[in-house]
Amino acid sequence: MKTSWPDILFFAIVCGIALGAALRVVLSKNAVHSALMLALTLFSVAVIFIAQSAPFLAAVQMIVYAGAVVVLFLFVIMLLGVDKNEDLRETLRGQRPAALGLALLFAVGTVGVIRLYGSGAPQAEAIALGADNVQLIADALFTTYLYAFEITAAPLLVAAIAAVVLAKRERPAKSLSESREDGSA
């Protein structure tokens, strides 16, 4: 596939929005604004997925990330009290150097991946031929990567249990354990 000028322009605009929103996520002093900007970032990434002929991935990005994860963030922010004057002191020690180090690692990793695979990007012929994206994913997921798919259920199970356990430890005396007693009484 050749890359044409409109494609590049489109990509640049969407990337600009994604990066700008991502910066706002970090720089905004209001947690809810940050969450909203995160949603915008994820949305822009979904648009890039569409441009890359991966509409299913775009839908997943919208439904799971923008639709569920950010909503969870919003809930947590509200759960902890919607204080408009956030405490901006950093509680994690060594947060900044650690962030810098991780950013460096990420940059090296990204460049490495591009060096390794960038030249001959894996462009599936089938996609170029306009085959149904979802069908292709289904074929791959439920035959070749079947074990990976089934094993996915395990982390999800663990996550469910972890969420319950964490929430219970937060409030040992009330709600959850109480309703449990009700159930067994």
Binding site: V32, V60, G67, V71, K84, N133
Partner: protein, 354 residues
């Protein structure tokens, strides 16, 4: 897509979008009037009867009035989000309108033009994505108001909506299984024809439970009675839009009715055969359109009927209906129906093979 993506296609699409938008807007205004009238008759009242003949211009009058009303912006609001929130709840509903197949196609100048904004191959997932974006509008409206009732209403609403989105996602899977596609037009085409010559091949006639579950979810997702805890006056004043007035309130109101229409249209497309129905050779494009609106109209009427008949649920009843009834029923149904289908397929393969 038939035809090339040339300048005419872009122009045609733009025209389609503008027509769809305007038509939906007018339809929604009509729906507001019809609902008031229907509920009034069910309660042995007359309903709006002053503005225009039979009060038909009432919604328009209300809309114009709201333009001239002061949009009070309380001191504690978070201004950018406060203003963004109504738009966030309105726009996703209109984006869904763009993927609904209203009718089959018209041929103009040798070009086949589908009566659908655009047909995405992830159609139904796009609808789910948009309804999850719709949650933002209400959550953020509640938060940005900087006031107690909206905050409680907003967070209740979003918990309700995400719970029922889960059910909705589960209810749509059996339909996808039956039709074998995610595209909206593909779904409608898969439902054309009849069984035994007279029973229409609607998905909803096979997947009865998912259809009913979807409809319940649709009511909860649009925050309409009996699931309108979001704006339970007796406990929460106006819920998430307590602090909204003037045109901003009007946009929320519009969004609610637009939501009711789009979700009925999706239900018709997925479960009730979409625009399929007996047609005639005279004006062949008109009949599908009529069928589509007739079916959608019936669903919208049921929405109104339910509103006039049922008392509001309690919050715990609402949550346990979603999480403890619908989800297990749908999961079991999914297993059962996929098992039966696999068994039928296997049996027919054996017959064909032997």
């Amino acid at each position: 897509m038939t035809g090339p993506h040339d300048g005419w296609w872009v122009l045609g699409s733009a025209l389609k979008v503008v027509i769809l938008f305007a038509a939906t807007l007018i339809l929604v205004m009509a729906l507001v009037y019809i609902e008031r009238k229907v509920v009034a008759f069910m309660q042995v009242r007359i309903g709006p009867n002053q503005a225009g003949p039979k009060g038909i211009l009432q919604t328009l009058a209300d809309g114009i009035k709201l333009f001239f009303k002061e949009p009070v912006t309380p001191r504690a609001v978070d201004r950018p989000i406060y203003i963004l929130a109504p738009l966030l709840s309105l726009i996703p509903m209109f984006l869904v309108v763009a993927i609904i197949p209203f009718g089959n196609s018209i041929t103009i100048n040798g070009r086949e033009i589908f009566l659908q904004g655009t047909d995405l191959n992830i159609g139904i997932l796009f609808f789910l994505a948009m309804s999850s974006i719709g949650v933002y509008g209400i959550t953020l409206a509640g938060w940005a108001s900087g006031s107690k009732y909206p905050l409680i209403g907003g967070i209740r609403a979003s918990a309700q909506m995400i719970s029922y989105e889960t059910c909705m996602g589960l209810a749509l899977i059996p339909a996808v299984m039956t039709t074998g596609t995610l595209s909206m037009r593909g779904m409608v085409e898969a439902q054309s024809g009849t069984w035994l010559g007279f029973v229409p091949r609607w998905t909803g006639l096979v997947q009865v439970i998912p259809m009913l579950a979807f409809f319940i979810c649709a009511i909860a997702e649009t925050n309409r009675p009996p699931f309108d805890l979001v704006e339970a006056e007796t406990e929460l004043v106006g819920g998430f839009h307590t602090e909204y007035s003037g045109i901003r309130f009007a946009i929320f109101y519009l969004a609610e009715f637009a939501n009711m229409f789009t979700i009925s249209a999706i239900a018709v497309t997925v479960f009730l055969g979409g625009w399929n129905g007996p047609g005639f050779s005279f004006l062949p494009w008109l009949w599908p359109l009529l069928w589509f609106f007739a079916k959608t109209g019936v669903l919208v009427f049921i929405f109104m009927w339910i509103r006039a008949s049922l008392p509001r649920f309690r919050y715990d009843q609402l949550m346990s209906l979603g999480w403890k009834r619908l989800i297990p029923v749908l999961l079991v149904w999914l297993l059962l129906s996929s098992g039966i289908q696999a068994w039928i397929n296997e049996a027919s393969n054996h017959v064909a093979g032997g």
